[in-house]
């Protein structure tokens, strides 16, 4: 069985969006953050971000609306979630780059969302069932991993594959640093205590390979990205034969069998990844701090017999998408988007997901409009200025209207890189922004 996600303790506040309630909002967030165990500095950061968001809402798009604020206390993180109905909202204001029109005597309150994002680790928008949700998350402070290779005791070939206890998981994560230096690891792994806490909360799964004497020979971690998609990390081996890597993957696939997961992703392939288990969907570039742009192969495995799907495409990308589907042997009904002079909204809306520790931003469309190209260019400009190196755009090929963004994306410097089967409502086409003024 997969790990069960633990129930998350929460506090809630329901208020109207009005400046007079600002102290109530900030007091609630700060007290909740402390109660959930954030340290002074982190609790203050989250409170400042909440203040920025509340001011932004009160000054503009949602003034007078009802607002629900919830604080969720994971063991490793506190999240503050602002939820408000969308029926009277101008969603355009939730573009990250939105600047309200100001009178000359007003102070510029623009880019409030961006300012808020600077003080938290993750910021995410989503739109579901008529509700707009903005989530700010601040991770607890964990000591960084010491960059001293840990000498793992030499293990005999592993005979047991099982879930680790917290100490064993910590040992595995520490042991990863002793593997070949420079190996690309998920940024979270630099804080093993956080990963252990996340595993305790059911957000990471892990398996270890153990020899007859109980010595650790290797391991594998995984994390659910959505109901349908799981990402795995590893397998990592400490002097083990290749069969150990295969056994670790076989065990993971056994865990995932008969679950809702239809795809297994591996974006951090290791030299120990056995052949024949994954397909290479393609590659994307990772803008490294030294200025290089190494290509990162994206490994994927379908967990089920593929039953086909509809994929929408703009004419400009039809050839690319058709070729990719043929190369990957995915049967799809490819439908080319057509325009018949219908009325188009003047504004587009994008949501932005920040992963600051990883330097990654993912843009997702929630509304198509005529200003798509300008909007995208402005997002790129601001995000590059913010020092964010890897910019992605997710286009859901199962949602026809999202293909309208294609010409704007291409013009704004995005390139289609990888099709991720069943990554969204349908398949996801991942665009990456290349070039521009990199930080």
């Amino acid at each position: 069985m997969e790990p069960q996600v633990a129930k998350i303790p929460a506090t809630r506040l329901a208020i109207s969006i009005n400046r007079c309630f600002l102290p109530l909002c900030t007091g609630f967030v700060e007290q909740s953050a402390r109660a959930f165990g954030l340290g002074d500095s982190e609790a203050l950061s989250l409170t400042l971000a909440a203040e920025e968001i509340f001011n932004y809402l009160a000054d503009g798009p949602a003034c007078g609306q009802n607002l629900d604020i919830a604080c969720l206390g994971n063991t490793f993180q506190v999240a503050t979630v602002f939820t408000l109905p969308t029926n009277t909202l101008n969603l355009r204001a939730f573009n990250f780059t939105f600047r309200p029109a100001l009178n000359e005597d007003q102070l510029p309150a623009d880019l409030g969302l961006l300012i808020a994002s600077r003080t938290v680790d993750h910021l995410q928008f989503d739109l579901k069932a008529g509700k707009f949700r903005l989530t700010l998350s601040k991770d607890k402070a964990y000591p960084a991993l010491e960059h001293k290779p840990l000498l793992m005791p030499r293990a005999e070939p592993a005979v047991t594959f099982r879930r680790p206890d917290p100490a064993e998981l910590l040992l595995l994560l520490n042991g990863l640093m002793g593997l070949s230096p420079g190996r690309r690891l998920p940024p979270e792994f630099a804080q093993p205590g956080k990963v252990v806490d996340m595993a305790g909360a059911g957000l990471y799964g892990a398996l270890i390979a153990v020899d007859p004497a109980g010595r650790l020979g290797g391991g594998l971690l995984w994390r659910r990205l959505s109901d349908q998609m799981v990402e795995c990390f590893g397998p990592y081996l400490f002097g083990q034969p290749a069969a150990t890597a295969r056994s670790l993957l076989d065990h993971l696939l056994g865990v995932l069998a008969k679950t809702p997961a239809v795809g297994l992703l591996n974006r951090y392939p290791t030299p120990d990844l056995p052949s024949g288990y994954f397909e290479v969907l393609g590659a994307w570039g990772h803008h490294a701090r030294d200025g290089s742009l190494p290509e990162i192969p994206v490994h994927y495995r379908s967990l089920e017999e593929d039953t086909g799907a509809v994929a929408w495409t703009h004419p400009a990308l039809r050839a690319f998408i058709a070729k990719e589907y043929e190369r990957l042997a995915f049967a799809r009904d490819l439908i080319t988007l057509s325009a018949a002079g219908e009325r188009i909204s003047p504004y587009s809306v994008l949501t932005t997901e920040f992963n600051r520790p990883a330097g990654v931003v993912t843009l997702r469309p929630i509304w198509w409009g005529e200003d798509a190209e300008c909007n995208l260019r402005e997002h790129v400009r601001v995000l590059r200025q913010e020092g964010l190196r890897d910019l992605f755009f997710e286009q859901d090929l199962g949602r026809s209207w999202q293909s309208h963004f294609t010409p704007a994306l291409l013009a704004a410097g995005f390139s289609p890189m990888v099709i991720l089967p069943h990554g969204g409502h349908g398949d996801l086409l991942m665009f990456e922004h290349r070039g521009g003024d990199l930080p």
Binding site: G254, Y277, S302, E304, T307, A329
Partner: protein
Amino acid sequence: MNPVPLDRLLPDYVRRFEPYIPSKPDAELMRLYGCATLHRLNNNENALGPPPAAQDIIRQFPPPRAALYPSGDAYGLRQKLAARFGKHPDQFLVGNGANEVISFVIKAFCEPGDNIVTADKTFAVYEWVATFSGIDARLIPLRDYAFDDQAMLAAIDDRTKILFVCNPNNPTGTYWERERLLRFLDRVAGQRIVVVDEAYCEFVEAEDFPDGMNLIDVYPNLVIFRTFSKMYGLAGLRIGYLAGHLDVVNAIRRTCIVYSVNTLAQLAAEAAVNDDAHIERTRHLVRESKAFLREELQRMGLPFVAGEGNYLMIQLAMSDTLAYRKLMAQGLMIRAMTGFRFPNWIRVSLTRLDVMEAFAAALRTLVR
């Protein structure tokens, strides 16, 4: 309109259960994958179809009879089964495929908190029905591709109600010989229900294969499952049955849905049940196809497990789900085994020789 509060209405064990999505109809799959023909090698159907007498029944079925309810408890078929196996007709319960009788048994004996014991790599429906009924399914790893009797016995506790043994096992084709099954039943000592699923028993030619029907009198806790879907070629009509000691069957009858088996299925099964010549013809076909495919696989250097039953398993040096897609594009539908917890294995039904030849040719394109 307010959304239905499914999170509140659904029991947790149902909410967490992933529904099984069957494959699309042939015409849709052929259009999708762009293939002119499609050979289904994924469901272990009988390429010869139903026995001739059953085919006559199907051809001659009078349409007005479709307006009438069937026999609610398959009265006629139970008479035939009783005569064939030397039992009382009430020792049989007929269901809409053997899948339905799995539900009958689990519903009759288990309540939330109870558990069943079976293998991790076997016919999945025992585990599914238990799981979405709130019953713990204890899945014991196979040993040498076969059910591990000792580990199954060790997994029994106070809340264990049923042990499911698939004999021969789908998908590995391994089986417990008579002595091993008897030892197992002796150890259970009548304290739990032991279900032996013999869906593929008619394909087995080994001398030491146990006939569960003959053991019911000695072991009243033994329940046997059989089906008309495989050897008798009636998969499309959905009919299977269970047999057991009268007291046990009467207990299961409480959770049995009557009228669930249609008239045509009952009549066709009645016509099929005594056709031993059909069994012999089918065995001959399977024997021939198995020999051919074994030779081809050895030539390709692919490991395989070819036990009893009209199927075999092949290990690939690639993802089985990728192989599925690539074979589909060539008009051949196999079973990808990741969902059976056999990653990188496929299961192939043994069918007509010309289809096996087409399959071998397509497989060669994947392994070269």
